[in-house]
């Protein structure tokens, strides 16, 4: 019997998320995450801070990475997640969250895969980049979602 680890290979692309975050979603996330910065709540408050308008909290972009991993690699657990914020993510703009498996390791801590992760806009501009180390679920039941 083989599990997900054996079925995915280096170069495997995770099922991309295509979405447009609404201003309300961003506000709700910031409120739930107890992130009081005005820039997460309205264009007006963001402009007072010198920004072009309301922006998505960095943690929310990282949450999108987590969602991408969870939906593409069912049953996985994240061991490490990092992000580099290259440009502000704004609500109301279509984004694509995608990733690819870049390495696999069998370790005494389990079967691990390394992924590159990206949030980009419709023109392919990379706004947030990241990496993740995830442990895949053991056993034959889990199946990777194909892009």
């Amino acid at each position: 019997m083989t599990g997900l680890f054996e079925h995915i290979d280096v170069g495997h692309e995770l099922q991309p998320l295509r979405l447009t975050l609404s201003s309300e979603q961003v506000r709700a996330y910031a409120q739930a995450a107890n992130m009081p910065g005005g820039r997460f709540f309205s264009d007006e408050a963001a402009r007072q801070e010198g920004l072009p308008g309301q922006i998505v909290p960095g943690n929310m972009s990282m949450a999108l990475f987590s969602r991408l991993l969870a939906e593409s690699l069912p049953g996985m657990s994240i061991k490490h997640l990092s992000a580099t914020f290259r440009a502000p993510v704004r609500p109301g703009q279509p984004i694509v969250v995608h990733g690819v498996v870049i390495e696999k390791h069998c370790t005494d801590r389990g079967d691990l895969v390394e992924c590159d992760l990206v949030v980009e806009n419709a023109d392919g501009e990379r706004w947030v980049t990241g990496t993740a180390t995830v442990q895949l679920a053991a056993g034959p039941t889990a199946t990777a979602r194909e892009p």
């Binding site: 870049i102 990206v118 023109d123």
Partner: protein
């Protein structure tokens, strides 16, 4: 010979890419990314002790080292870095004098070439709009794999006006972006001196493998 002249490994604070994983990825993607080697251009630093010969032998890629420094004309890539260049400049200084960098690096045996010239604030185009052109620049990074829409296109104006030679690099900070843009040389490059000589004399051009990569996956 094809080299990616602009890459960052995990030695740069904003990169998560181990050098060996770059090489494994390039090995795996060789049919769509026909790159023969990479140049590590870490941000604002030079480590005289870094040695990748074992990885070169193991994976069969050329690994050269340079640096990306920050100046009053934006970011500049340095190739052929040697002890004299490393002692002459504080690579961590984010306000280096660009003219000094270009002139002195050349005098000391290397070459300094502006990267991502079309990028706001840190690219040459914006600085040339308000300041005199730098003397002694022979080439610029006309194709940068991390550029936003329109940034690479802005560079052509500089090339036409100042007759700069052009090269390409991925500016990869993640493993899966290495080699997407690179430079094709007419002659083999075996070491840093060869690279400096080639960049000075010509016989190279930027190459873009992004379409091939998209079609090949």
């Amino acid at each position: 010979m094809i080299l990616d002249l602009h890459t960052h490994s995990e030695a740069s604070e904003d990169s998560r890419a181990p050098v060996e994983t770059y090489l494994k990825w390039l090995t795996r993607k060789r049919d769509v990314l026909p790159v023969d080697g990479i140049v590590l251009t870490e941000h604002r630093q030079w480590n005289p002790n870094a040695d990748y010969r074992e990885l070169e032998d193991q994976y069969g890629f050329l690994i050269l080292r340079g640096a990306e420094v920050e100046t009053d004309y934006g970011h500049i890539l340095l190739y052929g870095v040697n002890d004299a260049i490393a002692q002459r400049f504080d690579f961590a200084n984010v306000r280096l004098n660009a003219q000094e960098v270009v002139s002195e690096v050349a005098r000391l045996g290397g070459i300094a070439v502006p990267c991502h010239p079309g990028r706001p604030t840190i690219g040459l185009c914006e600085h040339y709009a308000t300041k005199p052109p730098l003397e002694g620049v022979v080439a610029i990074e006309a194709l940068n794999g991390g550029s936003r829409k329109g940034e690479n296109e802005r560079v052509q104006e500089l090339i036409d006006r100042y007759h700069y030679r052009s090269f390409g690099g991925s500016d990869s900070h993640l493993v899966s972006f290495v080699g997407i843009c690179a430079t094709e040389f007419d002659h083999d490059i075996r070491n840093g001196d060869d690279l400096v000589r080639a960049l000075l004399t010509g016989g190279y051009r930027p190459v873009d493998f992004r379409d091939r990569l998209r079609q090949g996956t």
